[in-house]
């Protein structure tokens, strides 16, 4: 080993970094920025909002425990809202978003052993779980000297046994639909710019719009295949019987799916078209493939942190929430959750907003991408 050669290699790397200030900046700034964002989001996460509704089926006999529950709620700072007098009106209140948890006190409450029903929306099991814990605490405090109560959980959407994967799946589908298409298009278009093929292409009578739409169609096709397979795997469940030494196993995650896979596909397709064109646009600002990869911490990571993959957007600090609402990923994930978990159709207000937003973003990036493909590259 020659120390001189080793030193020469190390020095060359340092020289390359000096010429590529952006990589150097990213090496230092990106981890700190991401950590800062993460710290801000986690530390300033809003406590989950729980509006409690109490439905009593037992009439005047339930009055003491109802009063005790009310007192416990007030003491714990949990607002109690009026949700009517039967289980159906309680469900309606949860569905309409007027209450987060409804306690249904049974008619046989005085009998000593009774089952209390808790109704939640079921769209975000993590949020529901936190709320159930709060409400279970209230019930425990209210029923210290009363009958022994068991709790039964019911959800409007999905199932009470939904696990973290059920809410994660739509988020991850949205994330991958954006991420892979973005990286692949970025590198591919950068190679067009640096490899001389774009120059050659522009020496033909091709229109910029033809290039942008052609790219969207080409990568859109593969995004389509990718998303179709992901959806199939996430939503499907196929039992493969025992084959020889290989034991029987399950293919697919069998995620509970309430809505139309086609509508889910529309959401993800619009997201992918936006990603393709954002990548074409940003490839102007990269000179090497390395610099395309450097867009990941800038473009992808903030969207993953703020878009609702890990935390619901509602729980983010207010200023960050405003930023999150401008990110395509937020609307992709929100739309996918609406379709897959809530079974939302095109008449659903929030889904309409999500789809309109994603379509607008796609159009914006198509225009921006087209503007970067100029015959004069200089």
């Amino acid at each position: 080993m020659s120390a001189r050669r080793i030193a020469a290699i190390a020095r060359r790397i340092a020289q390359q970094f000096r010429r590529d200030r952006r990589s150097l900046a990213l090496l230092i700034v990106a981890p700190i920025a991401v950590l800062a964002l993460l710290g801000y989001v986690i530390r300033d996460e809003k406590p989950i909002n729980t509006r409690l509704g109490i439905v009593s089926l037992g009439g005047p006999a339930d009055a003491p425990i109802q009063a005790a529950l009310n007192a416990a709620a007030t003491q714990a700072g949990v607002p109690v809202v009026d949700v009517g007098t039967d289980a159906a009106s309680g469900r309606a209140a949860v569905q309409a978003g007027r209450a987060d948890v409804v306690i249904v006190l049974p008619a046989n409450l005085a009998s000593g052993v009774a089952t209390v029903q808790l109704i939640t929306l079921g769209e975000a099991p993590a949020d529901d779980g936190a709320r159930l814990q709060i409400v279970a605490g209230l019930i425990e405090r209210a029923a210290t000297q009363g009958p022994r109560l068991t709790i039964e959980h019911e959800t409007i959407y999905g199932s009470a046994s939904a696990d973290i994967l059920d809410t994660f799946a739509p988020a991850l589908i949205g994330f991958f639909g954006f991420f892979f298409v973005f990286v692949l298009t970025g590198i591919s278009f950068l190679r067009e710019r640096t490899g001389g093929t774009l120059e050659r292409l522009l020496a033909t009578p091709v229109r910029r719009s033809e290039i942008v739409v052609g790219y969207s169609a080409g990568f859109g096709f593969f995004a389509t295949v990718q998303v179709a397979l992901i959806l199939l795997f996430a939503l499907g469940s196929l039992s493969v019987p025992r084959i020889g030494p290989v034991g029987s196993f399950e293919v697919g995650l069998g995620i509970a799916n309430a809505g139309s896979p086609l509508l889910a596909f529309v959401v993800i397709f619009l997201t992918a078209i936006g990603a393709v064109n954002l990548a074409i646009f940003l490839s102007t600002f990269a000179r090497t493939e390395l610099q395309i990869l450097e867009f990941i911490p800038i473009v992808i990571v903030p969207q993953a942190l703020l878009g609702g993959v890990f935390w619901s957007v509602d729980s983010l600090p207010d200023p960050v929430q405003a930023v999150a609402r401008l990110l395509p990923m937020t609307h992709a994930i929100d739309g996918l959750r609406a379709v897959l978990l809530r079974g939302a159709g095109m008449s659903d207000g929030t889904l309409q907003i999500d789809i309109a937003f994603l379509a607008g973003v796609a159009i914006l990036f198509v225009v921006l991408a087209g503007a970067t493909i100029r015959r004069e590259i200089a």
Binding site: T197, E199, R200, P205, V206, R375, I377
Partner: protein
């Protein structure tokens, strides 16, 4: 967006195929092309000779409509450049190969033929034979030698049978035998009425052109055929003529 077809060949303007007036292109403080006036009648081969960085590529890109002039004008086939529809009648071979390395020879060729609006299989097969790649159709670019890539790049520029052709250093890395064949083909194209502009920094290719433009620092140093330029400089070969006209003292002078 309109139909955007190329101008019909029937109404060929009588004027020169390529004409520039006071053409200038400035990048920051550097004038890559610094006031060039040329007039090229159709059906001939024009050689742009000059050292690396003399402005040849910028001049070609201006003429091919890939760059916008800072001042002055370029007219090709009677149309002021840049003009997108006219590009259907222009062939441009870039200095870098500009090929898709995962695709095969045939796939690259048919892609660029489709882009220029004339995916004619006969023309594709013909031009592949001219560049002697007919037996390598299915070969991916990654497996081609540098010279083969250069030849395919040339084929891609000629596949749509353009009326005006710009070739930026087409014979770099091409062996002498094939180079001879290629110049033969250029001559046939010119005889058939095609106008060719070929840039090179290899002076010995100059004598194959009908007219030479010697360029240095974005300006025309001399114009004329090889014999005229040698006579003007009073030298025996183009290499020395170029050096003498550039003001560089040469051994050829003192001997």
């Amino acid at each position: 967006m309109g139909t955007g077809g190329p101008a019909g060949p029937a109404t060929e303007p009588a004027g020169p195929a390529i004409e520039t007036h006071g053409l200038r292109k400035v990048f920051g403080a550097i004038a890559a092309v610094d006031g060039i006036d040329i007039s090229f009648p159709a059906g001939r081969i024009y050689g742009l000779l000059g050292p690396n960085g003399s402005g040849k590529t910028t001049l070609i890109r201006l003429m091919a409509g890939l760059a916008v002039a800072t001042s002055g004008s370029v007219t090709v086939l009677g149309t002021r450049m840049p003009s997108r529809p006219l590009l259907a009648r222009i062939g441009y071979m870039t200095q870098s190969d500009g090929l898709y390395s995962e695709l095969s020879v045939w796939e690259n060729l048919s892609f660029f033929a489709a882009m220029s609006g004339q995916p004619d299989v006969t023309a594709m097969a013909e031009i592949l034979d001219v560049v002697e790649l007919g037996d390598r159709r299915g070969r991916p670019i990654l497996q081609l030698s540098g010279g083969m890539r250069r030849r395919l790049s040339l084929a891609c520029a000629l596949v749509h049978r353009p009326t005006v052709v710009f070739l930026d250093e087409p014979t770099v890395g091409v062996d002498p035998v094939l180079r001879y064949h290629l110049w033969d083909h250029f001559r046939r194209l010119a005889t058939a009425g095609t106008t060719l502009v070929v840039s090179s920094h290899v002076m010995d290719e100059g004598d194959r052109c009908d007219e030479l433009v010697l360029i240095r620092s974005g300006r025309v140093l001399a114009m004329g055929n090889g014999a005229e330029i040698r006579r003007q400089a009073g030298t025996a070969d183009l290499e020395s003529a170029f050096l003498k006209l550039s003001g560089v003292p040469t051994r050829g002078d003192s001997q």
